[in-house]
Symmetry: D2
Subunit: 334 residues, 4 copies
């Protein structure tokens, strides 16, 4: 009964079926019928003409997005706990050719307008200092928190005023949309987001994420960067197929709701005092003693320790309701 | 009846089955059972302890290999028609941080010892010039030609003497091994190859290539580079599964033989005078007039023009024997 | 009466004379007689065989040093206020091809062993995180503080234990040595420093800094990197001449002592309560109100504001004693 | 009596005097009075408002220019014998972050419109191939040949049509202008040149070259790139002083004419049959046997061998007329 990560989950049946259905000769790279449909389908979803590309990982999606928004001599403002800073082995620095991540603090791994303003105030406008060029946020955040449309728009407004690009790492974008019940547009371009890394792998996909440019003209160089980074798969139709399968019939939302619901059930059992962070997506950060953690593990539950006295549990699209209930019961019983 | 590229072919059934069989929760990234078996299985195949990593594309495999063999201020000697020079949008330059490809000419897109020596003779040993650090060859070559073990070893010997690394782009390594009937070791480390990009996608895979380091210690930094490049998939087990399925029972050789045989049948029909290059793998370069090409296309055969009066046809693991025969007949009838 | 920066000072007469004396035909780049003497002269100064190269700026010296000590996927631990982080527009990121500066805090812009250990403790040893490869310190620091030989050695010991390189940004190394009265070796290789950026420009030079590798073998790639960065001047003898002139007869120490003494006189006049930082080199950070700063400026003294209620003054090798005395008097009179 | 390179020559007296005259406190970096005059003075010279920056070497100037004209995934078309390809250790690749130099052949190291068109014809317009973004030429060329205004304009017209930037490596721009007797504008912006590396060091300077952007807006990012590359000297006034001294009273043209005249005298003595290349600047490529070369060397003349049966001699602004006459006599006597 593993609650390590949604990365470890299986692939949902719609995706497996789509792979099988795509298994015939077609044009290589992204010239196939499925890849050619991507921008159309995402444009419908986002209520605006967008350019959409598939890439194999969220790290690649994020790094490609930042390479478009920030020159090598620029800076990207992000949270200290951001995935791009903490878990990508310097991918943003690689793809941007050496841009600097400029770190802010903030509750729940969320970037606030105040934090951005405070950082900007420390930067002299001269050639000796790296000039910020973009802000990157993660929704849902690395601590399972969501930005509302208004919170996003407040950051978007600062970016607009200060000439900064706004990138949204949406590895768990589905979980955020499912939680908030808003339109995808409300969390993105209507709030000032320029580029979105739209995650599918954690949510039931196998090997395909989408990179969405809300200004279609800004996608041009990314086609070259993607190829140059070795991310233009020759049988790209199998990546397109995964995404299309998850958009069809809102599988992406169904899966995200399942994961969120599982997290909610565990959170309810844990009670507010154990929660290090409010549970707003599919991650739980709980206060448990070492003895309590050991007790849970002895009952077959696995998860990561997350600093002294804290653990992280992640639910996924296919979290077994019975296992979730047993975990909830076990936590309640601590 | 498309003979554009083996990139366009479908995925072989063993791979599809392996994906289905892998579809359950496991450890993320490359910590899963399947990924952990890769080095063992390839060590057996190559009769030597090797380090093996999966990556999503041949371009990524090649570029990661070169980043290990060549510093940013170094050079990589390769053929002007090499895929790394001509079809990867500068991926080697990206991953090596700006190394220079130093181009040689040679029949059939093959690098000869003489060409390497001649290029080396032009380089002054001073800091004003980029110093060659590696040689990269492709087997089977971009013109469907193979290097024999002896030919490879002759290049390996120069590399050894001159302190150069030797990389083998094996996007169609299976086709070369199948053609030559030699041990994989004979075309690689026994002949002085340091790193191999071992292709599976063109040969029936979906999205997984193998990067093989014959000196296991040289793989260390590549684990970081792969992550940093966004090529460490979180559900990596689906990549390992594809490779393992194709190694099991020598599916890789069976598939390559099928493609080679199809090419042979067409070559036999075309006759020696039409062949721009001897057919040694699964690519055919034929002399046909524009009218002849049009005649073939009017019968439903599709392929690329390849310069004036020439066309390229590529067979694949699943080339339909009936279609191949019809094509052979059509060519014979020209 | 400007106390903005030692960067603004004139060039000392010994350097001007050396330029004139070098003004004849000689071998280009660094093949000339003067450049060829550099390693010998620095080896004598440091009581050890070193490799020494001239470069045009401290930024280039620092960035070249870090490129040797840290791979593109590595990290450099430094103080948040370090020049390499704050005033070089990302030069370390450029030369290292995207390494990450990992920031620590500490009094007086000094890095402590505790801060290094604390940072190291936050880094998981896996491929998802950038792994620290080096520590960089500045002596005298950006706040005019010095590291003693013992303090340096404590950092050197951590670096040795953890396999990290140790770089010393010595833009004001002369001021530190002059203050401490120790051997240059005591602040560098005897304390574990691998590479030193030895500054001359702030101390009376015109356009030449020295980059010192205490392990001579580690200088090899830097010769290529220097050329590749456009820092191998064709008339390099004029850079070598500047450095040799300042080493001859210990001009570098004489100049640094003059600057330090001027700072001391002002510090004495200011009194301990006004000093934000102890004055240990040639920089002063004083607490003065806006009105007091205006009063000083109205008497002809110029300097930078340094945050609310603070100013920075820098003395130099040629600070006019009369002006220094007038400033001391003016500050005392506030 | 060395005729190795104009790089080895001394610095002309006007520059030495200007260094002395600038030797007083001023604003650091390029905030000083002299640096601030550069754009004005060059705008007058070029009869157009330009942006001018000093940098320390021609290699840096070239690489900064190309970084502005070409993205990391683009290509720069240049001659195989171009300095940027052959003598800069990959500086263009470093500064552009991995762009590809696309080589053409041509007599006298000159790029022809035909060669550019032929190369462009080989490039498919897809993401698999590096797309050319700029052309770089050298005037006077690496073989001492000049491009006329018309020849330059023909290349400029291709660039305009094809959306390519045009860079001029003017390490010996002065020699070209002096030879052609045209306006500097005629060889640059009037002919379509976007950025010029204007050389002063080979022509009597010490350590300062100018980088000229004919569209002033294109200089903006270069200020950051220059700093980031460690080329923003803190005492930049000494670089500005060199350039201003050589522009004042047309010292740059006087010096170039002296070098050109010396080359002409030697060429006249050598006779047309010995000339590998017409002498149009200050370089001579002569056919001499090994015995003849030895004979010259035994009389005290030094120079480079340049392939079998050929030597290179370079004159400079301060070539001693008596030595030149003795060399002319010695060559005539062979």
């Amino acid at each position: 009964m593993r609650f390590f990560s949604d990365n470890a989950a299986a692939v949902c049946p719609e995706v497996m079926e789509a792979l099988a259905a795509a298994n015939h000769l077609d044009t290589a790279y992204d010239g196939d019928t499925l890849s050619q449909r991507l921008s159309r389908v995402f444009s419908d979803l986002f209520e605006r003409e967008v350019a959409a590309l598939w890439v194999g990982t969220g790290t690649a999606a994020n790094a490609l997005a930042l390479a478009e928004l920030c020159p090598p001599h620029g800076g990207v403002i992000c949270h200290r706990d951001a995935h791009i800073n903490n878990d990508e082995c310097g991918a943003p620095e690689f793809y941007t050719h050496g841009a600097k991540l400029m770190l802010v603090e903030g509750e729940g791994a969320k970037v606030t307008p105040q934090a951005v303003e405070a950082l900007l105030a420390t930067v002299r406008k001269d050639v000796h200092q790296v000039q910020p060029a973009a802000v990157s946020i993660t929704n849902a955040s690395e601590y399972g928190r969501v930005y509302t449309p208004d919170e996003t728009a407040a950051l978007g407004e600062i970016c607009r005023q200060r000439g900064l690009g706004l990138h949204l790492d949406g590895a768990r974008f589905a979980n955020a949309v499912a939680r908030l019940g808003c339109a995808p547009a409300d969390l993105t371009w209507r709030a000032g987001v320029d580029v979105l890394s739209f995650g599918f792998v954690k949510n039931g996909g196998m090997s395909s994420e989408a990179l969405i440019f809300f200004d279609r003209d800004r996608a041009a160089a990314t086609h070259y960067r993607r190829k140059r980074a070795g991310h233009l798969l020759s049988k790209g139709r199998y990546l397109a197929a995964q995404i299309l399968a998850m958009l069809e019939g809102d599988v992406w939302l169904r899966n995200a709701r399942a994961a969120n619901d599982a997290a909610d059930r565990i959170a309810g059992a844990a009670g507010a005092e154990r929660l290090v962070e409010p549970v707003e997506a599919n991650e739980l950060f709980l206060r448990v003693t070492a003895a309590e953690a050991a007790a849970l593990r002895s009952q077959g539950f696995d998860f990561y320790d997350w600093g002294p006295g804290q653990v992280r549990l992640v639910t996924s699209w296919d979290s077994d309701p019975a296992q979730v209930d047993r975990l909830a019961t076990a936590i309640r019983a601590l």
